[in-house]
Structure formats: structure tokens, C-alpha cells
């Protein structure tokens, strides 16, 4: 397991986190970072990766300008040596790329890993979350024929920058691909009537609101507070509010000062969209909802009972 590689998708926080994850999973290994892309964005990703890893392989091609699993899968399958272990961040690119890559490499696949607990021979002991984060699972993954492991963002504390690594241009190794899936464009999220990313106070509703007509109760509270209304994913899926109102990794990233979560259980995808440690208040009827672990203040209550009273109380203290 001394052949450890890390795929760094871009110049963001991922290189330092992946470096920490690699050190936790493979103590003593000297991982090689891989970056792929084109032009200045690639150069920035390579610089970022070189701060965290001693060696960086860089793959430059116009076709790689947009991260494309259809092109990256054959590339990684070609350049990774047999039996190698590959780490990459568990995002939408990894969900596209990694399961098929593990099959192609003949390697084991361990997705969305949040912790490492050592190894028994070739078996890595890992921690995952299941049932939407309600429980954790200790998992053993046989890396004897290699492993592809995706790592949850935020699960490993970023490693401090190293002395600076060398970047090797390996663009000559990019294989020719006749893609059966052809990238066309990226369509940005439709701009809503409110930019929740700029709001200081958010009143956010989740599945616990129960019914579309109950959203009016949250709207009234938001209006009384002078706050904007946002929501979690199930509310957008049900088409009760626009996509532009969705907080989370698949929605908007918000930086409010105060965040009031109403009937939101607190999945990591939702909390991943809230930055800057706001003052978090959670109201949920399930006292075991994970949101109460993230919140500063909590109320275990039925929303339909609490909301009208809270709106009145807010009007009084205003």
C-alpha cells in the first residue's frame, strides 16, 4: 500500500484536507497528487497541490478544462500503477467518476469516508455514515488489489502546508478518448428573487414543515424578523420554494449571522452549505435530530404550535 495517489480537483481547500486524510489512512506514505485541467486554472490547482504534496503530476488538455468523468476515468486508469490506492474528495465529480474507476482498476471502493482507524494487513478500517447520518458504520476495505476511497469534505482537519513539492507535466500520457458522453455547458442556478447568500438572517424550513400551506407561517415569522426565507432540499424537490432558496452542498452556500432551522434534521449536505459559524437555532419535534448537535439553542416542539406564538413574541420585542 505504498503507492498512494490523491486526485485534487481544483484550487480549493481540498488539497490540504486530502493530505490529512492520506496521512490518517496511510501513515508514512509519500502520496503523489494528480491534477487535470487546462491553462491558468490548472496551474493554480497544481500550485495548491504542491503546497500539500511532495510530488504533483499535472495533466493539461483543453478537453479537461471542465472536470469530466468520461475523460478522467480512462486517464486515471492509464496512469495509476496496479494496486495503487487513490483518494479523492466525495463531491459530484467523484460520484460520477469513482465507482466505475474502481471497477476498471480492479480495486476496492470505499465512498464518503469520514474517519480512519488503522489497518489489519491489507484491510483498512474506515468509518462511514449511513441512513442519512443517523448512524456510523465501521467498515473494512481490502486494499490488497488497490482501493479507491472518496473522502467527506470537512471530515479531516487540513494538514499544514509542506515545504513545497515538484510539479511534473505528464500531459503526454493523456489517452485519446472517443467520449460516449459529451459535455455541452454548465447552466448556473436560476437567480431567485432573493439572494440568500447575502442575507444576514435566514429563517429556513425543512421537511418538518409538513405541508405547503404551512410555509406561510414561516414566511410570516421571517417578515416579522426582517429575515429572508430559505429551505432544505426536500422543500425544493416538492416545488414548494424555488431552487434559489435552497441551502446546502447542492444548493446555495450561505453566510448568515443568525440561522433559524425549522423542521430541518441537519444532514451534512445541508450543514455543508452554511459557512462562517452563524448563531444556529433549531426547532424540531425529534429531540435526536442531528441539527441539535450543530445548534447553539434548540427547541423540541411542534412547528405549527410554536410558529404563530414565536411570530407574536418577535413583534413584541421588536
Amino acid at each position: 500500500m505504498d503507492q498512494v495517489f490523491v486526485f485534487v480537483p481544483g484550487a480549493d481547500d481540498s488539497a490540504a484536507e486530502l493530505s490529512a486524510a492520506a496521512a490518517a489512512l496511510f501513515p508514512g506514505a509519500a502520496p503523489t497528487a494528480l491534477v487535470a485541467g487546462h491553462g491558468e486554472a490548472l496551474a493554480a490547482a497544481a500550485r495548491d497541490a504542491a503546497r500539500a504534496f511532495p510530488q504533483v503530476w499535472s495533466f493539461d488538455a483543453p478537453d479537461l478544462a471542465h472536470p469530466d468523468a468520461e475523460r478522467l476515468r480512462p486517464l486515471l486508469a492509464k496512469v495509476l500503477p496496479a494496486g495503487a490506492c487513490l483518494l479523492l474528495p466525495h463531491g459530484t465529480l467523484a460520484m460520477d467518476l469513482a465507482p466505475g474507476l474502481s471497477v476498471r482498476l480492479g480495486a476496492a471502493y470505499a465512498p464518503d469516508v469520514v474517519g480512519a482507524e488503522g489497518a489489519d494487513g491489507s484491510w483498512l478500517r474506515l468509518v462511514r455514515q449511513e441512513f442519512g447520518g443517523q448512524v456510523h458504520a465501521r467498515v473494512a476495505c481490502d486494499a490488497a488489489q488497490g482501493a479507491v476511497i472518496t473522502v467527506r469534505s470537512g471530515a479531516f482537519v487540513p494538514a499544514p502546508a509542506g515545504p513545497g513539492g515538484t510539479v511534473v507535466d505528464r500531459s503526454a500520457d493523456i489517452p485519446a478518448v472517443q467520449p460516449r458522453r459529451r459535455f455541452r455547458e454548465v447552466v448556473a442556478a436560476p437567480a431567485g428573487d432573493v439572494d440568500i447568500a447575502r442575507e444576514e438572517v435566514l429563517v429556513s424550513v425543512g421537511r418538518g414543515i409538513g405541508d405547503q400551506e404551512n410555509i406561510a407561517l414561516a414566511e410570516e415569522l421571517a417578515e416579522a424578523m426582517g429575515a429572508a426565507l430559505s429551505c432544505s432540499r426536500p422543500i425544493v424537490d416538492a416545488k414548494w420554494l424555488d431552487k434559489g432558496r435552497q441551502v446546502g452542498t447542492s444548493g446555495q452556500t450561505v453566510r448568515p449571522k443568525v440561522y433559524l432551522a425549522l423542521g430541518i434534521s441537519g444532514s451534512f449536505q445541508h450543514l455543508g452549505g452554511i459557512k462562517g459559524s452563524p448563531f444556529l437555532v433549531a426547532v424540531n419535534k425529534n429531540p435526536k435530530a442531528p441539527i441539535f448537535q450543530a445548534a447553539s439553542v434548540g427547541v423540541v416542539a411542534d412547528l405549527l404550535e410554536l410558529l404563530p406564538e414565536l411570530t407574536d413574541a418577535v413583534r413584541k420585542v421588536k
Binding site: 468520461e70 463531491g91 459530484t92 465529480l93 460520484m95 460520477d96 469513482a98 465507482p99 466505475g100 474507476l101 471497477v103 471502493y109 465512498p111 462511514r128 449511513e130 441512513f131 442519512g132 443517523q134 448512524v135 456510523h136 458504520a137 465501521r138 467498515v139 473494512a140 476495505c141 460516449r180 458522453r181 459529451r182 459535455f183 455547458e185 454548465v186 448556473a188 442556478a189 444576514e200 438572517v201 421537511r207 426582517g226 429575515a227 432540499r233 425544493v236 424537490d237 431552487k243 434559489g244 447542492s250 443568525v258 437555532v281 425529534n286 441539535f292 445548534a295 447553539s296 439553542v297 434548540g298 427547541v299 410554536l306 406564538e309 414565536l310 418577535v314 413584541k316 420585542v317 421588536k318
Partner: protein
């Protein structure tokens, strides 16, 4: 278009609090349902067939109890179902499940295979593995499907954006929630398919040799958590008044 949709019976997240006992999940009193993502996949398949013609088959890997899952999706409108069931499948990891499904796909003549984007284990792996085993192109987190081949598809990527591509048939797509509104299944629909014949295919019928899993679950546990939120207790009016005071003090009321 001939479409196979892979579905899974899972503990219903809306109805259950998942409890851990002796390193396992306490299963006796769990309420089961069709994996939420899979309902969107079946709905999308039905819409494609309504538009382009063809038929929808639903398939699942599971024990005899998974029959009810298949019937529910047939009540939604799927024409055929396959139960892929063998005691030897019990230990299958994600790759094992993908191998069983790949064998079922090879026995048919499908143009398109849909899966839900993920299920209860959150691994989001079977669709991508299945595509690779079949040597078909793949897209994950699909939230838009148009055309008749090549398909014009949208994938959900970070920040609410959509990545648009064209993908050749046959292909495998894993479907994200929100792509459509799954239709309501009434009692009448359930009754209609109650006596439908569902073929059961075992390891021998599929020609699958179960392989030793390379990813194994050792134990479930509930993580130690921090102190958590300060919970406000008392009657509703009292709690509301205190919460309003706290919100004002923290700058939450303008």
C-alpha cells in the same frame, strides 16, 4: 425504448429512528419503503416511455420480502418486474450487487438503465459500477432527461448548477430527487398488480458466481456527540418569548 430501473427496499427514513443494538441495526420494528431516489427513477422511466414508446421493467436484489417493493413500482406503471434473489447474494457489497444487476441487464435487451442516485448506505456506487461492468457510458445525479438517443441530460453539480451533456444509448443514469414529481400510487393500482407474475432469478439462472466482498461492514455505532444545543424548556408561549429575546440579542431581529 426498453428501460430497466433498479430499485431497493430500505428502512423508511420518514418513519424510523435507526437504533443500534450490539453493533447491528435493530430491524424488528423498522418500517420499509422503496428508496426515495428510486421512485424518481421509475417516474422518469415512465415519462420517457409515455413520450417515446417502449416498456419499463423494475428489478431488485433482495429476499422474498422485496416482492412488495416491485409490486409498488408496478402499481406506479412499470410493466414487468424481476426479483434477483438467492441466499448467496446476502453478503454482496456494492460491486456484488452491481454484478448481479449486470447479469440481469445482459439477459434482456435494454436501451437504458436507471438507478436512484443513492440509497440508505449513502454510497452512490451501484449505478457507476454497473455501467462499467456493462461497458456503457454513465452519468450520476441526473436531473434532466430529453430526446431519444443520444439523450440530452443534465447533472446536478455544486452550487445548484447543472452540467449539460449528450450521452449515447445504451447508458446507465443515476437519478437525483427533484427531477420530476413521482405519481401517486393508489390502492386500486396496488390491487391491480397483486397477482402479477414476477420471475425470480437466482445465482444459477443469472450465471453469477458470488465473489468474496472486498468491503465489509464490521459494526454500526452511534458516535459520541458534543454537548449539543441548549434546549429551551417550558410551555409554548414561554419558550416563544425566550427565543424571541435570544434572537433579538444575537441580531436576528431587524
Amino acid at each position: 425504448m426498453e428501460i430497466l430501473v433498479c430499485v431497493k427496499r430500505v428502512p423508511d427514513p420518514a418513519e424510523n429512528e435507526i437504533a443500534v443494538e450490539g453493533g447491528g441495526i435493530r430491524r424488528d420494528d423498522l418500517v420499509y419503503a422503496v428508496n426515495e431516489w428510486d421512485n424518481y427513477a421509475v417516474e422518469e422511466a415512465l415519462r420517457i416511455v409515455e413520450r417515446e414508446g417502449g416498456s419499463v421493467t423494475v428489478a431488485t436484489v433482495g429476499g422474498p420480502e422485496a416482492d412488495e417493493t416491485l409490486r409498488r413500482e408496478m402499481a406506479m406503471g412499470a410493466e414487468k418486474a424481476l426479483l434477483l434473489s438467492d441466499p448467496a447474494f446476502a453478503d454482496a457489497d456494492g460491486l456484488g450487487v452491481a454484478r448481479i444487476l449486470a447479469a440481469a441487464v445482459r439477459k434482456g435487451a435494454y436501451d437504458l438503465v436507471l438507478t436512484g442516485a443513492m440509497a440508505d448506505d449513502g454510497a452512490a456506487q451501484v449505478g457507476g459500477m454497473l455501467a462499467e461492468l456493462l461497458d456503457w457510458p454513465f452519468a450520476s445525479l441526473v436531473n434532466r432527461v430529453e430526446g431519444a438517443g443520444p439523450l440530452r441530460i443534465g447533472r446536478e453539480i455544486e452550487g445548484g448548477a447543472q452540467e449539460v451533456s449528450d450521452i449515447d444509448l445504451p447508458c446507465v443514469l443515476s437519478v437525483q430527487t427533484g427531477i420530476n414529481e413521482p405519481r401517486y400510487v393508489g390502492l386500486r393500482g396496488i390491487r391491480k398488480v397483486a397477482s402479477a407474475e414476477i420471475p425470480v432469478l437466482d445465482a444459477a439462472a443469472l450465471g453469477v458466481e458470488p465473489a468474496a466482498p472486498r468491503v465489509r461492514r464490521l459494526a454500526y455505532f452511534v458516535p459520541e456527540t458534543g454537548p449539543g444545543a441548549e434546549l429551551l424548556e417550558g410551555g409554548i408561549p414561554e419558550v416563544a418569548a425566550r427565543l424571541a429575546g435570544i434572537l433579538k440579542a444575537k441580531g436576528g431581529i431587524k
